[in-house]
């Protein structure tokens, strides 16, 4: 029984990490209907940016986080403004292939600059500390911190979306970009801002990932699949849905891993396929796919 409780709590906390991966994708997909195939590679890029900054500046990973967020936000803004805005339209092929091209470019540039070595960030004792909950049950402090961050990031974005003028613009553009344009909204600017915001969240995911485990330049696609599955399970345009999607994925993987060590990742994928077969629009969709 305690065994299963441990599995469940591990799964939920792992889900927090997945939700953090997925929030940026949920934003860009929700607002622009853009499936960014390079999303996972952006997470890895942010991780490597943090790794490159910590040593010369002699700062800890958490102190490097705001710098990486700013850098990634700028990168995301330019990426959307200069390239991705040109791909928007009724044809899903162009954004897919353009971002796929960027995925290949980012992976190989990272490989060229940082070599194929796995690297990580050192955050000190917090990485291994655990919190006993009585009996044999304990949870790691770091996974708890990750999950808490995911919840607060989503809470903050939720506030932005429903309480500010910028959020209203995002929601309007998401629901009907043509009408939004008629109301005087500059879509291209809104999209670039949304991508900057999404990339800032990607930066958080990247830094947390590099603290949790070591990362290599070709890790992006696996992160993308996790992120996409969490978004698809949760439903389009719903950030809390994305959080629950991440948790469902995490629990499915933890349970699969417990039953047989080889089947952890597969059971996550199977959970995703099961949900989309039963509910193609995800569990809690807020808006519809155009």
């Amino acid at each position: 029984m305690e065994d299963w409780f441990n599995t469940l709590s591990q799964g939920l906390l792992l889900g927090g990490m997945y939700a953090l991966f997925a929030t940026g994708l949920s934003l860009s997909f929700g607002i622009m209907r853009l499936i960014n195939v390079a999303h996972g590679d952006l997470i890895v890029l942010a991780a490597f940016a943090a790794i490159a900054l910590v040593e010369p500046l002699a700062i800890g990973p958490i102190a490097a986080l705001p710098i990486v967020m700013l850098l990634m936000a700028g990168f995301g803004y330019l990426l959307q403004r200069l390239f991705l805005n040109r791909t928007l339209g009724d044809d899903p092929l162009r954004p897919l292939l353009v971002t796929f091209g960027f995925s290949i470019i980012i992976q190989n540039v990272l490989l060229e600059v940082f070599s194929a070595d796995m690297r990580g960030l050192d955050a000190g004792t917090i990485e291994t500390a655990s919190l006993p909950l009585g009996g044999d049950v304990a949870v790691g402090v770091y996974p708890l911190l990750v999950a808490a961050t995911a919840v607060s990031v989503i809470g903050a974005l939720q506030w932005l979306f429903y309480r500010t003028a910028l959020g209203r613009t995002f929601r309007a553009t998401s629901d009907d970009h043509r009408t939004a344009q008629l109301m005087g909204i500059d879509n291209r600017r809104v999209y670039a801002l949304a991508m900057a915001l999404a990339s800032a969240v990607v930066a958080i995911a990247g830094v947390y990932l590099a603290i949790r485990t070591s990362v290599g330049p070709s890790d992006g696609p696996q992160r993308l699949l996790c992120a996409f599955e969490a978004v698809a399970i949760g439903g389009l345009g719903s950030l809390w849905g994305t959080l629950s999607g991440g948790m469902i994925l995490g629990v499915a993987q933890a349970v699969g891993l417990k039953l047989d060590p080889g089947w952890g990742a597969v059971s996550g994928h199977l959970a995703f396929l099961l949900v989309v077969v039963l509910r193609p629009n995800g569990l809690f969709p807020k808006t519809r796919d155009r």
Partner: protein, 360 residues
């Protein structure tokens, strides 16, 4: 409108041109000359050409699926890998001639495409694209858990392939590749000139509109999806006959999808000539830049992005829209019978395939 019809009542629908008939004859001649190559060519050039033809086969299969069927898949490596593992089971475990794994790989891929399609066809657009990738991952991880086929680290198929004398092995590999590359191109061509081709492009351009005209959208999509799976499965088996070593990571690698994208997108998506041009360019670039390792992949990535942003029709598509040049014409044109040299250009009555209106 009626007046015009009365004035020129004798019209016929035309699907070819002089250039296209000449091109067809040349291609046939070229293929026949090619088939005799094992008797006089160097093994190295046979190997290089075989690779060209199997890359062309993969590209045509993805082009059929995405460029004509409007189903953008990032997961065709699922079927490449299944073909490869059919080779393992038949060649190593059952001990039959490894080249029999080529048709068998197609059958296995086609059969497994049925349950995969049942799940994937519930998804649309971008969801479908990533869903196919997830499906390929599921296949990869399931195979990695089966120790009988080498588990996660894979195994060598040399033992199965080495039973065949060297000359025969090289020649059979080449002929299979020629058949797959040439066959895939011809299949797409013949399919598009048939009435199914009209239904297919109609579905790509608008599902509701084609459904309202009596096209069975589901049937058309299934047909294309299974054909593409069979083609990729057969090619996958052949690829691993030449590579001699297979592992789940190599067999189900998204790099196969990347390869198909590069070739089709740069050459011209939704055209039959495009993948040929793209494959030629791909091999030329690899010859020139292959020594630079990652820089070569970065260049291919930049080229894909640039083509998709500024010339979405690719090299061949851009040439076609400038010069009206078609070697494998698949669109129907209405021509008056009496006056062949009419000053006005013939009306194209089905939209020319173009990348601008894809819908999955």
């Amino acid at each position: 409108m009626t007046e015009a019809m009365d004035a020129a009542p004798a019209c016929r629908i035309e699907c070819g041109s002089r250039a296209s008939r000449l091109a067809g004859a040349l291609v046939l001649l070229f293929l026949m000359a090619g088939a005799s190559m094992p008797f006089w060519a160097e093994p190295a050039s046979l190997r290089a050409l075989a690779e060209f033809f199997y890359v062309l086969a993969l590209a045509q299969m993805w082009n059929l699926l995405a460029g004509y069927g409007g189903m953008v898949s990032i997961g065709q490596q699922a079927f490449v890998g299944l073909g490869g593992y059919t080779l393992v089971v038949l060649g190593l475990h059952a001990g039959v001639n490894p080249f029999l794994a080529v048709p068998a790989g197609g059958i296995v891929a086609g059969l497994l495409a049925l349950p995969a399609g049942c799940v994937l066809f519930r998804l649309r657009g971008a969801y479908f694209a990533i869903g196919t990738w997830v499906m390929a991952e599921v296949f990869r991880q399931v195979i990695a858990n089966i120790t009988a086929v080498g588990g996660g680290s894979g195994l060598s198929v040399t033992r199965a392939v080495a039973t065949i004398p060297t000359w025969w092995r090289q020649s059979l590999t080449f002929w299979c590749a020629l058949l797959l590359g040439g066959g895939a191109t011809f299949l797409v061509y013949a399919l598009l000139r048939s009435r199914y081709g009209l239904a297919l492009t109609a579905v790509r351009d608008s599902e509701p509109a084609s459904a309202s005209l009596g096209v069975s959208v589901r049937k058309v999509k299934w047909f294309v999806y299974v054909i593409s799976a069979v083609g990729c499965g057969m090619t996958g088996a052949l690829i691993f006959i030449t590579k001699l070593r297979i592992s789940p990571d190599a067999a189900f690698s998204p790099d196969w999808s990347a390869l198909m994208f590069f070739v089709v997108v740069i050459g011209g998506i939704g055209t039959i000539e495009g993948p040929i041009v793209g494959a030629l360019l791909y091999f030329a670039l690899r010859e020139m830049l292959g020594g630079f390792g990652t820089w070569y992949l970065i260049a291919l990535g930049i080229l894909t992005v640039a083509v998709m942003l500024w010339a979405p029709k690719g090299i061949w598509g851009s040439l076609v829209s400038r010069y009206d040049l078609r070697l494998f014409p698949v669109q129907r044109r209405l021509r008056p019978v009496d006056d062949e040299r009419d000053a006005t250009p013939p009306a194209v009555i089905t939209a020319a395939p173009c990348a601008g209106t894809l819908k999955a």
